[in-house]
Amino acid sequence: DITILVPSGSEGDGLRAAAADYAKMKNTKVETVQAPYANVFEQGANAGATKSGVFDIILMDDPWIPFFAENGHLEDLTSYFKGAGVEGPDNDFLSKSLAICRNPYNSGPYVCLPYVGNAQMFFYDAAKFKEAGVESPKTWDDVLKAAKTLTEQGGGRYFGYVFRGGQGNPVVADFMPIFWSHGADMFNADRTKVTIDTPEGAAAMKVFMALRDVSPKGVESYNANEVGTALAAGTAASSINWPNWVATFEDPSQSKMVGKISYSPIPAGTKPGSSEIGHWTMGIMAASKNKQEAFDFMMWATTAEQIKISAERGNPPVRTSVFTDAELTKQEQFRHYPVLMEAIQASTPRPRHPKWPEIENAFGIELSKAVAGTISPEEALKNSQAAVEQITGLK
């Protein structure tokens, strides 16, 4: 019998349903423990730090992987694959999806399996953008141009762009795509240097600030939800967001914009656009007492068949075969799959560092200050550079 820790959102619900199916099929009882999204991390960390073994499997957000893996909370899956007679996951999985499941990124051993395939997409109201003279936005300049026009016409009640400005994770999450699409990154390739305060960074920051100027007042406290709501309610024309919102936008009880929201990969800056990846992956807790059973369940749950069922339950897939499954893509609610697959393939993971939460926090504070205007963008970059250097010890 195994116990799985899941967040109490749609990802958790999906896995819960799958677990129920599995229990019916096999002779294994699968219990799911649900925690609010914001607290799954603590639950897992508590269990890991105290070796309590209350959970066998944990469904993780991908940025947590380095923390769990490098602190010995996660089981290395290599031997289990061997036991199952395979090298590793099959290559129907998207390569980016698999890359994050290895620690170190894309090179180390597998510590988890991808389950929900998320990456940011760019959402916009095509009709409005057209009105503003932009047919389909390819670059941030396009976005900015249209957004500016729309905000000016909006008279304080309609805005061309909206983003997550809340301090911490939200503002970082919405800045990173712009950051990357201007060729910047937090670290240099071999991760020996912090590279926030660079000309590329400054360029990204400039665009970000320009976008802020056309966004509604109060984005300083926005999270994904507010941003999505703004689009669904038709008070903003574009934003970066997670694909889960597609279903909401198309649900008339939740959206005024049914059929009016278009999707694209992240617009380009000076470099091609890149979205932030946000996968949910399953790993086995090191303190688990039922590791083999747990692995069996994970393998089962990530088969193409199950991933498809999961997709039908509302969670984006992680397998090419499911992304391209005609049965799905012909349905209105899955019409974004090609775009999403493209976005995942072009995605970048959040910098893989076991201290990522601390880095994200420090960076988030400076970005929040910049957005709020209490410091200049230049200062924000400089401070962030210093803060991250201090946290990582890179100088």
Binding site: F41, G48, T50, E70, G72, G218, N361, A372
Partner: protein, 307 residues
């Protein structure tokens, strides 16, 4: 005719005889014992753990030993700018929120006690905010503050006032948190004051009225002194809770914008869980505990509460 009660007379007057006698003699300990024992059992381990943790660097990896760092964690408090920001924000929040809650709660209790003695349901209605789950309260206020769709800005708009970003505005964020907290916890003070007022003696008020004291004087000279113990404990509890404010900030602002609403417990939470540094978190908690104890000791001395 009065019959003799001889039947109920004790057989012996010897002191120390019988269980009841023993019980009565030791009542002072017996009545206190359950509370003391429960609290001892429940706090000893956490306290020891906290002190122990505070002088170690604890890796989230359970296989690595704890590294003794002495006062290292405490020394960090001196240089940690984020901690200082959180400290200042917490102080601002605590002072403003508790003061407002106290004034409003006491005022309201006085008004109701004086003008509306019946209509108990009114009092209950005024208490509803604190009965709502804080998490639901935080979410509701988020909805109310929401700059685009929020009802508060709609009201501002209807009143012809400039709309604001509220929780999203650097200058208003803390204010917004305070308002929400005041909304939820004023009823707490209100409730305690109401109960305090309900058991006041009447006669001193009559005497004071004849001695020429105005209602205002009666309030200062009688009501406040009579309520002093309840006020003191209510304030203490509110301050303690304000020092651990979490839900509202977590949901409404996440500490932003620009760190303006980062409070201690949010920061401690981040350090303990997000940054996986429980040793440092314990040191900060000890610091908070220390400050709380010092403040409340001082406060109780001032209020001559211990007796």
């Amino acid at each position: 005719m009065l019959k003799s009660d001889k039947g109920t007379m004790p057989k012996s007057l010897r002191p120390g005889g019988g269980l009841e006698h023993w019980t009565e003699r030791h009542l002072r300990y017996l009545m206190l014992a359950p509370t003391v024992l429960i609290l001892l059992a429940l706090t000893i381990f956490p306290s020891v753990y906290m002190f122990y943790a505070a002088v170690h660097r604890i890796s989230p990896n359970p296989d690595l030993p704890w590294e003794f760092v002495g006062i290292g964690n405490f020394a960090r408090l001196l240089t940690d700018a984020q901690f200082h920001v959180a400290l200042r924000n917490t102080a601002v929040f605590t002072i403003a929120a508790v003061t407002l809650e106290f004034l409003l709660g006491l005022g309201l209790a006085l008004l109701l006690d004086r003008f509306i003695r019946r209509l108990g349901f009114l009092k209950t209605m005024l208490m509803i905010p604190m009965m709502l789950p804080p998490i639901a309260v935080a979410i509701t206020w988020k909805l109310i503050y929401e700059p685009q769709f929020g009802v508060l800005n709609e009201i501002m708009f209807l009143l012809g006032l400039p709309v604001q970003a509220w929780a999203g505005d650097v200058n208003l964020a803390m204010f917004s948190i305070i308002v929400a907290d005041v909304w939820q916890w004023t009823p707490f003070i209100f409730l305690l004051m109401l109960a305090g007022l309900a058991s006041l003696p009447v006669e001193p008020y009559e005497a004071a009225a004849l001695d020429g004291a105005s209602s205002w004087r009666q309030f200062w000279d009688l009501t406040l002194p009579f309520l002093k113990p309840v006020i003191a404990i209510a304030l203490l509890l509110r301050v303690m809770d304000a020092l651990r404010l979490f839900d509202l900030v977590f949901i409404l602002t996440g500490g932003g914008p620009a760190d303006r609403t980062k409070v201690l417990s949010l920061y401690i939470y981040q350090v303990a869980y997000r940054f996986a540094d429980p040793g440092y978190a314990a040191a900060m908690s000890l610091f908070v505990l220390f400050v709380t104890i010092v403040l409340s000791t001082w406060f109780m001395k001032r209020m001559r509460l211990a007796e």
